[in-house]
Symmetry: C2
Subunit: 206 residues, 2 copies
């Protein structure tokens, strides 16, 4: 059965993105600080179908693993708009359901990536993603607000965070306004490297 997951990098002070996000300034310009560990991994660039990265170890395996288990993605409109202008073709290699008020025809890319624009809320997106995922997991890609919506609706089964050893001081926090009464959390896995600390949690409904 499909699990609903997210897998996000954050700063030590909890920020998922910086200030003044937008298509000209994806993630508020902090991706280099939060995702440095990722950019060093050959696995990351392989999924972008580009050459890059120096490392091929445990951190890279995590990237491969989340990619392999994911059968469909859900993301918010702002994240989509930030990425639309810059993502390489066929980045997700799966269906991506974008939460938006905009009516728009599906954007079918070369390869196996297709973006569908969902106007009737997270439950509708989830239903469509489940059908598309065909037993694989559904990854709530972001932004933070979209992840918070799924958390507060009690819909997340498991998540991975990657805590970079950096302070950002301001921006958009991943865990903001979380409903404390929805879940019990269990620490499942902790892995560390110089560049980040990987923490995996399982959630069970209270």
């Amino acid at each position: 059965m499909s699990k609903i997951i997210f897998d996000s990098g954050i700063s030590l002070d909890g920020y998922f993105a910086g200030d003044n996000r937008g298509p000209q300034n994806p993630m508020g310009g902090v991706s280099g600080q939060i995702h440095q560990w990722m950019f060093k991994q050959k696995a990351f660039w392989k999924h972008l179908k580009m050459d890059g990265g120096q490392e091929q170890g445990e951190d890279g395996k995590l990237i491969d693993a989340v990619f392999a288990r994911t059968g469909a993605y859900i993301m918010g409109k702002r994240m989509f708009e930030e990425g639309e202008v810059s993502w390489p073709e066929d980045l997700y290699q799966a269906d991506v359901f974008v939460l938006t008020h905009e009516k728009r025809e599906p954007w079918i890319q070369k390869g196996t990536t297709a973006f569908y624009f969902i106007n009737d809320g997270i439950h509708s997106a989830l239903e469509k993603a489940k059908k598309s995922a065909n037993g694989k997991d559904i990854r709530i890609q972001g932004g933070a607000n979209t992840i918070q919506q799924f958390l507060n609706a009690g819909l997340i089964d498991e998540f991975f965070i990657h805590v970079a050893p950096v302070f950002l001081g301001s921006g958009i926090r991943l865990f903001d306004g979380i409903d404390k009464d929805k879940f019990d959390l269990q620490i499942m896995e902790v892995l560390t490297s110089d560049l980040t600390t990987h923490l995996r949690y399982k959630l069970s409904k209270k």
Copy 2:
């Protein structure tokens, strides 16, 4: 040479304390959730000179270690007021410098704990703590605002955080308004258990 450290429990969403803190509601009532790992350790109760705890392992050793290395404490007025009414006598077994506007004579307890009330700011408190610590480390005990003042003044050498697998949803965050340009951080140690994840960082001035 004395290092300046802090060692704090926080929730997964980054809270050091809950809402509505006060002497009748220390830490906003969330200590049981954030510090559960600590309350299970025999080492914790030993330092309180009380019987308690079930576990005697790696987590307990961390409590012993920070206690052993600390030669003096600095804390904010609100944390002091919360503790004053409930802490057992001689809890700190060292000098504690309390940042406050209140003029007050030192409170010398039985044993080796003494509270000194400092009216002229963090640098003055630090100078006095250094003299008192006699080469051991100076622990900025809390609350969050006091720790933030020391961080933003560029005065912290190292810290330990203990991240409990719990969401609190609101309260006072440990890392709020941190000056991102003061430090580079380095991951020094990551230890995990069922109840918390211990993360140690070293800071170097930018």
